[in-house]
């Protein structure tokens, strides 16, 4: 246990704990990098961390001074097993079927787990333009599992993304296959309120494919989570309460983000 921590810190810690314990992962921009490094250093040393810019199987030294800032940080060249380019990282690696899970953040997510990184409002008359999808689209289309880490706010957790840049279960069962994509899962989502799984036993072929709240932050009532969710939230019968960050988790997390690049006070 830990004393004071922010919800964003808790989210990163939970994300790290819930990482698969093995496999090849591609970390997208933003919080996935921070959470992924915490996972690698504490909970899941056997994962192979890769980035789309070309660092494959990045192994930070125990005395690593900080998490990489952005996916193109030069620090990623130091200690990786292979350093190459994007056609390899998102091509031979991801498109070739070698990525066990992708970890992404976005501006919006919907109840089927789809992401939006491009535009708020109608694409043809945008309310607000965003940076763009980067490698998000490929990772969502082609990683075997998709893990999402993003702050929970009602404007971000929407019934249907304004624009799906990065498909998870699209509009429900069978949609991935109809679109020409492979099944995917089990997918997970970590927010600043809890942890979600998706209601499908077979990667989107059957089941409702909707997000199900399976765990909440310490002391949080699922009804509060509903307030920050833009669709009628499904809650697992056996919804559990998450353990708060340990002192060790928090210390390492803060050491990895010494400049508050990821966890800007007050942003989330």
């Amino acid at each position: 246990m830990s004393g004071d921590y922010t919800l964003a810190e808790m989210m990163c810690v939970v994300g790290a704990r819930e990482f698969p314990k093995r496999g090849v992962c591609l970390l997208g921009m933003g919080l996935p990098v921070l959470s992924g490094l915490l996972a690698k250093l504490m909970h899941a040393p056997e994962i192979a961390i890769c980035t789309e810019v070309g660092a494959l199987d990045y192994a930070p030294r125990p005395d690593v001074v900080r998490a990489s800032i952005g996916i193109h940080d030069l620090i990623l060249n130091d200690g990786s097993a292979m350093v190459t380019d994007m056609v390899d990282a998102l091509g031979t690696l991801l498109m070739g079927g070698n990525v066990d899970f992708g970890v992404l953040q976005a501006a919006q997510v919907d109840k089927f787990g789809n992401l939006n990184t491009l535009v708020l409002g109608d694409y043809r008359a945008p309310e607000r333009r965003l940076g763009g999808t980067g490698g998000n689209t490929e990772i969502a289309c082609m990683a075997k599992q998709l893990i999402t880490i993003m702050p929970q706010e009602r404007r971000r957790f929407v019934e249907r993304c304004d624009f799906i840049t990065s498909p998870s279960y699209i509009d429900g069962p069978g949609a991935r296959r109809r679109a020409g994509l492979e099944p995917q899962g089990p997918n997970r989502m970590m927010s600043t309120m809890g942890v979600y799984r998706f209601d499908t036993p077979d990667g989107g072929e059957t089941g409702s494919c909707e997000a199900i709240l399976e765990a909440v932050f310490p002391g949080l009532d699922p009804e509060i989570v509903q307030i920050e969710t833009g669709w009628t939230l499904r809650v697992a019968d056996d919804v559990r309460e998450l353990e708060p960050p340990t002192t060790e988790e928090l210390a390492l997390l803060r050491r990895l983000d010494p400049y508050g690049f990821y966890l800007v006070p007050g942003r989330y």
Partner: protein, 341 residues
């Protein structure tokens, strides 16, 4: 790092002997034309060359790249570029002049993804008309109603949904992309333009080859013997390069593997964020950090004048925590066709 004695001793016959080494302003003047499409990326950041383009006052450029860094959007703010073809525009992450120009239709744009641009550059480099991918399947990018948007300029030449002739698999055909120009920054080259680069490359490798006129700035100009002693590090041969420019700190305030890190401190001080926040702030920034300098060296001199050499040296990679060992490309000299028992 001197070339190995053995190579210097043997000497080699010069290769394609055209000297590609020239100054940054000459390179931009000769090889960038108004209306050109210009690749600039997120790695191999050629900040100095982009400043030279802005200074030269080129017009109607298209900026292309998987992720376009602030050096690319600087070309928009400078009035040089009016179109962007990218997967990610760093400067559009937060509201500002770039997002406003995109929303209003003042800036034309076509959205792809990082890998889409990388694959399109690869197709361009390979001389094939298009390349198939599963990117964009299941997304709203392919919704026909989105082909006409405020920034559109490619329409039905942007991509096509198709089926594989072999097994009926759905895929998206992405057209080959051959930028007129690519501006890139790398570790070293010889005067013939043989460029060596290391560290993650993003989509740069294919941009070197897809572009009709690659312009490359490098930290060091080395003897061709050094290049030829380790040809596996070469990312593009000189005969493919339009110009090579000797420009120490040419990526700065971005970084370069093995030479210097991102200069975050200077970023903040120089106010890179001002470039795209508003047209007024851009004008202030340009008056302070672009217009006064005839070349990149003058800008770096100003940095040292303001903040001191120590401040600059602090982002330099010295011995570095990791140094790669040398390897041998050698071969024996006594090949025999026969063997006595």
């Amino acid at each position: 790092m001197p070339p190995r004695a053995c190579l210097a001793r043997c000497g080699i016959i010069p290769a394609v002997p055209e000297i590609k080494l020239m100054g940054e302003n000459e390179a931009i003047e000769r090889f960038v034309a108004d209306g050109d499409s210009v690749y600039t990326g997120y790695t191999s950041v050629a900040f100095g060359l982009c400043r030279a383009i802005a200074r030269a006052g080129k017009r109607n450029l298209e900026v292309v790249g998987g992720s376009v860094g602030i050096q690319g959007t600087m070309l928009v703010m400078a009035g040089c570029a009016d179109r962007v073809r990218a997967g990610y525009i760093a400067s559009a992450l937060r509201p500002g002049a770039i997002t406003a120009m995109m929303e209003s239709g003042e800036l034309k744009y076509e959205d792809y993804s990082n890998q889409a641009i990388a694959l399109m550059l690869m197709a361009g480099a390979l001389g094939i008309p298009f390349i198939p991918t599963k990117s964009f399947l299941g997304t709203d990018y392919l919704d026909p109603k989105n082909a006409h948007h405020p920034g559109a300029y490619l329409f039905d030449q942007k991509w096509r949904e198709m089926e594989s002739p072999f097994d009926g698999q759905k895929f998206v055909a992405l057209p080959a992309l051959k930028p007129d120009v690519a501006v890139l920054h790398a570790q070293r080259a010889d005067k013939y333009g043989n460029v060596q680069a290391w560290g993650h490359q993003g989509d740069a490798k294919w941009a070197y080859w897809a572009a009709k006129k690659p312009i490359v700035s490098v930290e060091e100009i080395v003897d061709t013997e050094m290049i030829r002693a380790d040809p596996g590090r070469t990312i593009v041969p000189g005969f493919k390069v339009a110009a090579v420019v000797h420009m120490p700190w040419g990526a700065h305030p971005s970084g370069l593997t093995g030479y210097y890190d991102f200069d975050y401190g200077f970023n903040a001080k120089m106010g890179l964020g001002r470039i795209t926040r508003s047209k007024e702030e851009y004008a202030d920034w340009a008056a302070e950090w672009l217009d006064p300098f005839p070349d990149h060296a003058a800008l770096m001199a100003r940095y040292v004048e303001l903040y001191g050499q120590d401040t600059l040296d602090a982002v330099r990679v010295d011995a570095g925590p990791v140094t790669a060992d040398g390897i041998s490309y050698g071969h024996g000299r006594n090949l025999r066709f026969r063997m006595d028992p």
